[in-house]
């Protein structure tokens, strides 16, 4: 898979050019307001770049499509459906047979450990369970690329930690290309093959770090902390610059 992006969405992003490989876990970090979510929206096809274009498997992205499924900060489950019908939602849209919907929904609910809750109503789930159900809904689509827009930022720290570990496992099991936008450098390092830092203002893509560490990764280990500090410093410089920019 090749994805080239070159252009800017409104005033937010300037000349970002990157290529994400098939099966890669790619994270995007940066100070708030740097346009990381915009970049994700562009890849998803919700917005179109003003200059340049995005290619998915050599074809330009012209709008949303189910080869790229997006997950949000809010689980955005449908409250009028129960858990399993939420997972079946996308499969129904694609036109899967009832039997296949049933089978795939069960398979992915099991993967996210919600198989016992398939007939629950959305409001009966905890925040973490909702996000897991949303993950099952997205994975069940058999998409090539999963786009995650700060999927854990609305959860408490405990749940976030558990979900991160689960996501690492699930990703290993259901090998997909994942592009994660997050404000947590630690999260990005824990999960990703590569981490991109987006600069504040209109600077665009600043640097891409490769994370060559064996999995499961140890958050307290020496190389982890070293890389974390390096990226954090990078982000901090961006934040300071953007603040200075605001005062000028």
């Amino acid at each position: 898979m090749a994805k080239q992006y070159d252009g800017h969405g409104g005033e937010v992003l300037t000349s970002v050019s990157l290529k994400i490989e098939d099966g890669e876990f790619f994270s995007i970090v940066g100070p708030s307001g740097c346009g990381k979510s915009t970049l994700l929206n562009l890849i998803a096809g919700f917005e179109l770049p003003t200059e340049g274009s995005i290619f998915m498997d050599g074809k330009p992205v012209t709008g949303p499509g189910n080869d790229r499924i997006m997950m949000f900060q809010d689980s955005a489950l449908f409250p009028w459906l129960n858990v399993i019908d939420n997972v079946k939602f996308g499969l129904d849209i694609v036109g899967c047979s009832k039997a296949e919907q049933e089978e795939r929904a069960h398979q992915y609910l099991k993967l996210v450990k919600l198989d016992k809750f398939s007939s629950y109503r959305v409001h009966e789930l905890s925040g973490g369970m909702k996000q897991r159900a949303a993950l099952a809904r997205a994975l069940a689509m058999d998409c090539k690329v999963l786009l995650m827009d700060e999927p854990f930022s609305a959860l408490d720290k405990q749940t976030t930690n558990i979900l991160r570990e689960e996501l690492a496992e699930i990703c290993a099991a259901a090998r997909r290309t994942i592009i994660l936008v997050t404000h947590s450098v630690e999260e990005a390092l824990f999960l990703s093959d590569r981490v991109a830092v987006i600069g504040a203002g209109k600077t665009g893509l600043k640097k891409i770090y490769s994370v060559d560490m064996p999995r499961p990764r140890q958050i307290g280990s020496e190389p982890f902390l070293k890389l974390r500090r390096e990226i954090l410093d990078d982000v901090r410089i961006e934040v300071e610059q953007s603040e200075k920019g605001e005062f000028d």
Partner: protein, 265 residues
């Protein structure tokens, strides 16, 4: 044990408080009638209704079959007019949700029409349709369709944009988006709109019947005035209110509550 007693006491209070209140209210009303008309002579007895005489009037109207016939006519007209208003309201509401420009242009006009009491449509309706059923139906439609249209439009417009994004990222087309996301998501707003629309429709129906019907609750009300029978007037007013409450409670509230409960709201 203690806690159980407490909840028992509370539920006793909850179930009996309201009926007891109304029984007391009716007794007070009867007492006011007695004291006010015979002892103090404040009012003439034909100008002030009493609960017992309203009941008497009720029994006599039931025996004559007038009450049942009036009810039947009013409810059938109500269903016809409201049904038509729902169709027009939904079509208009969907059009308004599709075009922001159309909504901007029509919104003040529709709100203006909402402030026009439905009785004001009666002269127009009579001139247009003559003194017949369609005139009353027309008044009902004019009284409730626009309120329904605005609710439908707002319901569609206020659907959580994230849900729409989810559907789009899953690759849904416009038809699937409406059928699977927008309509179910806006359903609570639709029901709320229908509930409000019904109360407008019922009021409009009574205005229409008072002015032009030859049978129906509104007409029976006017008959009471023509016969100078204050008890019949009071009775019909009570019946109109009760029907309004019953339909609101046992139709719309029922649907609304079961739907919201399912969604955990």
């Amino acid at each position: 044990m203690k806690k159980e007693n407490l909840t028992k006491k509370e539920s006793w209070k909850g179930t009996l408080m309201v009926p007891v209140f109304y029984v007391v209210l009716i007794i007070v009303w009867q007492l006011v009638y007695w004291v006010g008309t015979s002892s103090l002579g404040l009012w003439k007895s034909y100008a002030f209704p009493s609960p017992l005489m309203v009941l008497e009037s009720c029994i006599s109207l039931i025996q004559k079959g007038t009450l049942f016939q009036a009810l039947l006519y009013s409810i059938v007209r109500g269903i016809l007019g409201f049904g038509l208003a729902i169709v027009i309201g939904f079509v208009l509401g969907i059009l308004l949700s599709l075009s922001e420009g159309l909504h901007r242009c029509l919104h003040p006009f529709l709100l203006g029409l909402q402030t026009l009491p439905s009785i004001c449509w009666v002269p127009f309706a009579i001139l247009w349709f003559g003194l017949d059923e369609s005139a009353i139906i027309f008044v009902v439609v004019m009284g409730s369709a626009f309120s329904i249209a605005l609710s439908v439009r707002n319901g569609i417009r206020n659907v959580n944009p994230l849900w729409i994004k989810v559907a789009r990222t899953m690759g849904s087309n416009q038809k699937q988006l409406y059928r699977k996301v927008i309509v179910p998501a806006a359903m609570p707003a639709f029901v709320e709109g229908l509930r409000q629309g019904w109360s407008f429709a019922w009021r409009a129906l009574m205005s229409g019947e008072v002015m032009s019907a030859t049978v129906g609750l509104g007409h029976t009300l006017m008959m009471g005035r023509d016969l100078a029978d204050i008890n019949q007037v009071m009775l019909i007013m009570i019946v109109i209110v009760v029907i309004g409450i019953v339909i609101d409670r046992f139709v719309f509230r029922q649907i609304e509550e079961s739907m919201l409960k399912k969604r955990g709201l």
